[in-house]
Symmetry: C2
Subunit: 296 residues, 2 copies
């Protein structure tokens, strides 16, 4: 099979082709500019690739309801030029193949469940922690859409007792994204995360917020795996700190060996590594081709 | 059709029979005692009822995994005598019919989606706020089980600035259940909720905690409807207070008419009223009979 994949992130736009085993044969990356520019690059890239399907994992909010007149559109984003852009429609008119269409984080969750660390499981959450915080939700073998789609980066937080940072979210100030995104780390400590040593107190505070949100999500949805990706998670000390904090938050209440005894295998980096996003889009394309997605 | 239903709550145990339209023809209620006592009462009740299926919505934690050796058991409850009780197995050996088996709150969510206020929708959350706080999760047309099953009553909370109540949860102290259950209201105000007037400050604090948790759940799962039942929700002033607080928490971030314009129809009491629990168990029995549940 030859399946096209588009990872349409807010800062990076990646096009690639791959197959049903999750192998990426070729890919190309661009900085995200106007929708017209990116559309032109995607069309040029896929023009002669003879793909049988295309999967798109896009930054949101996006319209995921097939019966909606704006299905396939980027909706209320503040990102210049993208609001109201008919992303899926523009590509569909160029390529008469099945399309998979979902959020970037839902795509990544599906990719991990198809080929990555959640392979064979019926559920996983995929957190990306970078410029923003997003959560992909895959439960009972399905990506969750619901009313709009999950926006789990914006859940309320309980403040760390030593943290007086106001929070950066323009909607909620000190929600998870407002307190734990890459820009929040930089604003709080006056230095980029990459510049902070692994023993800096920044990481305990970061883990406090992420673990609190993850514990809440584990209680609400009981996922079989929690995958943490994105630039901030490149600080590998975060994983043991987050696991310990999730354990402290749950305090033995959720009785499952995965949590009580095998936390190191429960909260994990993406099995697909840096390719989690693109492979996620590939998984959407594959699912569209196989007819295993309900939408598109 | 004649379908049996068992609402097995921690304090109240209800048996009934009903049909595929959600009509309850007969029911009987007992205080919850030992499993042997309740089993005897259930067997005596259903003995001559000629039911074609039985649905059980049970207090948890319970084992929902058909492949598990303890499938159908009540697992780690502190409730005297119930830990390790093979609830489903004991009934199955008496009645050779299809069984539906899920948590009481998942059952109630399915009931609301089948006949109640979420009829026709693919998703809803069902909160019960009473002796404890529980959350049933129905998403993309399926009840969510995952690793164990949702336990959304225990999510962490952000403390109300005027509230110094320590919280009652033996695991988490000030989680949602620890701060907002009926016993938490009584411990904080030295009076039962029923005795507090509708303009008492207790209700604003109660709404603060519930709304915060609901806002987090709406962000994580994007449900199409949020149903609030249980004894505490009999204080009807809570509904407008909670809706206003959810709106304040979300602050316009989730762009959906259901939230921005029709909140009165989004966060609602059970359409099935006081029968939400028993009708939920009935819906589980109906789904088992129709083969639309994956388990049992």
């Amino acid at each position: 099979m030859r399946i096209g994949a588009i990872e349409a992130g807010g800062t990076k736009f990646v096009c690639g082709i791959g197959d049903e085993r999750g192998t990426i044969a070729d890919s190309i990356s661009f900085p995200t500019e106007s929708p017209e520019t990116m559309l032109g690059k995607a069309i040029a890239y896929f023009k002669d690739k003879r793909v049988e399907a295309i999967g798109i994992g896009a930054f949101g909010p996006i319209d995921l309801h097939p019966e909606s007149p704006t299905f396939g559109f980027v909706t209320t984003t503040p990102k210049s030029g993208w609001r109201g852009f008919d992303f899926l429609g523009a590509l569909r008119s160029e390529f008469p193949v099945p399309f998979g269409w979902d959020t970037d984080v839902n795509a990544a969750a599906l990719g991990e469940a198809t080929w990555g660390t959640a392979k064979g499981l019926n559920s996983c959450l995929y957190y990306t922690v970078g410029t923003g915080v997003g959560v992909g939700v895959y439960l009972e073998g399905r990506l969750v859409h619901g009313l709009v789609h999950p926006e789990g980066g914006h859940v309320p937080t309980r403040r760390h007792p030593d943290d007086d940072f106001a929070g950066l979210c323009p909607y909620h100030a000190d929600c998870l994204e407002g307190m734990a995104s890459g820009p929040a780390i930089e604003a709080r400590w006056k230095a980029k995360g990459q510049a902070l040593p692994s023993d800096h107190p920044a990481w305990e505070i970061e883990a406090y917020y992420l673990a609190q949100a993850i514990a809440g999500a584990v209680l609400l949805m009981s996922p079989e795996k929690v995958v943490l990706g994105g630039g901030v998670m490149q600080q590998s000390r975060l994983f043991p700190l987050i696991r310990a904090e999730v354990r402290r938050n749950l305090n033995g209440y959720v009785v499952a060996n995965e949590i009580l005894e095998r936390m190191d295998e429960y909260i994990v980096p993406p099995g697909l590594g840096q390719r989690a996003g693109l492979c996620g889009a590939l998984a959407l394309g594959l699912a569209a081709l196989q007819g295993t997605l309900r939408s598109t």
